[in-house]
Amino acid sequence: MMFSALKPILQILIFPAGLFLVASGIVVEWIDRKLVARLQNRVGPRWFQILADIVKLLAKEEILPSAANPWLFIGLPMIALAGCMTAALYVPLMGLSPAYSFSGDLIVTLYLLSLLTLSKGLAGWNTSSRFSLVGATRGLTQLFAYEAPFLLALLGPAIVAGSWQIDVIMQRNSSSWIILTQPIGFLVALIGLMGKLELPPFDAPEAETEIVAGAMTDYSGRGLAIFNIAKSVEFVIGLTLVAAFYLGGLNNPLEYLLKTFFILVVLIGLQTLLTRLRIDQTVGLWWRYGAILVLIQWMILIIWKESILL
């Protein structure tokens, strides 16, 4: 009985959220930087690099801009991280069943993941530096662009499974690899993930050579560290979702590792190959091609489903 009360706490703090999530975020970020470096013909960071980065940031002096609202300044990174951590509870991390599951949790999870972008946007506005403002605006603009197609792309497998519950979707699709039946959807989901994570070519909100560091320009120390952790955590969850839906479910840890790694490598490859797009080009791309593609996918799906039911 004691254990059942303790269980949620352990789940939040250690597994699947909490420490485990942060650790997997660190690993994913390291693989990202290392592979990018290797593809660029460099050696890249050492294995403990990300850990050192985080500890250093946590130990650094935090400068509070005078024009910023201190509550927002300190609170927003935490909200971002909390959102991602909560989302992790509904996702099959490590190939094990999600800690919690209820009908419709797919939508909830996706909204929780958007908290990161929203927090960054608000944080950018809050610090009132010019670069932050431009970065925040871009981030939010991008949110409007890719969010809908991304959601629709994830709903493809949901339609096939006939449910809005992540666990159920995964179980019902574990025999078939949706990537084969809905390749367009997979493509949109993959690119959508890149948009969500602001990976190049969609990193206009953080375009270093244009707006210094975007919304994060005036953050230092703890706030920056937490935002960075939140971003890697979102990476992990995003990978898990796409792998679970399109690559035939995640039934055990080994499958989990292999499948998420595969998607990670694909994303890194794309990241290195492509130039950053201007924000208007990003939005244009999404609303023109992204949305249309996913709608085509849906049409095919609906027609097929109807024909089967008939």
């Binding site: 460099r42 960071p45 050492r46 050192a52 500890v55 250093k56 002096e61 560091a213 230092s220």
Partner: protein
């Protein structure tokens, strides 16, 4: 119990700072020679990312300020402001003969002087310009110094 934990924390902090030195670059009047060698350290042949150095855009994200050039009148204030925006702990590296002593521009009317006349400098890397290997060497020496001097502090 706190007293027991403090040295370990300090060691951890120092380790992190030494291994994750994010840098920002500022040119206060240089001819560019040093700057292109600094940029070269990021490229595949020299790859500063091995040492954890990432070039940042915002001074608030950086631990090390890499400065080049003699300080011109116009650039002086910006140099100061950039330095002030950096949160502690921060270090300054002066790269090139001009940064150390105005170099070839000692007689020029618009040059105020070397970098250490404006902000405190922790490491000097001489050369005109110094090779990328020299720059890396200088940075590593700075990091070693930081690491060892902190160890001495903790031991006290």
């Amino acid at each position: 119990m706190n007293a027991q934990w403090m040295p370990i924390f300090e060691k951890l902090k120092t380790w992190a700072r030494v291994n994750s030195p994010w840098a920002i670059h500022f040119n206060s009047g240089s001819c560019n020679g040093c700057d292109i060698e600094i940029l070269a350290t990021l490229t595949p042949r020299y790859d500063l990312e091995r040492f954890g150095v990432k070039l940042q855009g915002s001074p608030r994200h950086a631990d090390i300020l890499i400065c080049t050039g003699p300080v011109t009148r116009q650039a002086r204030e910006r140099l100061l402001r950039t330095y002030e925006q950096m949160p502690e702990p921060r270090f300054v590296v002066a790269v090139g003969s001009c940064a150390i002593s105005s170099g070839a521009f000692q007689n020029c009317y618009n040059v105020i002087g070397s970098i250490d006349e404006v902000i405190p400098v922790d490491a000097y890397i001489p050369g005109c310009p110094p090779r990328p290997e020299a720059i890396i060497d200088g940075l590593v020496k700075l990091l070693q110094h930081v690491s060892s001097s902190s160890k001495m502090e903790i031991a006290k």
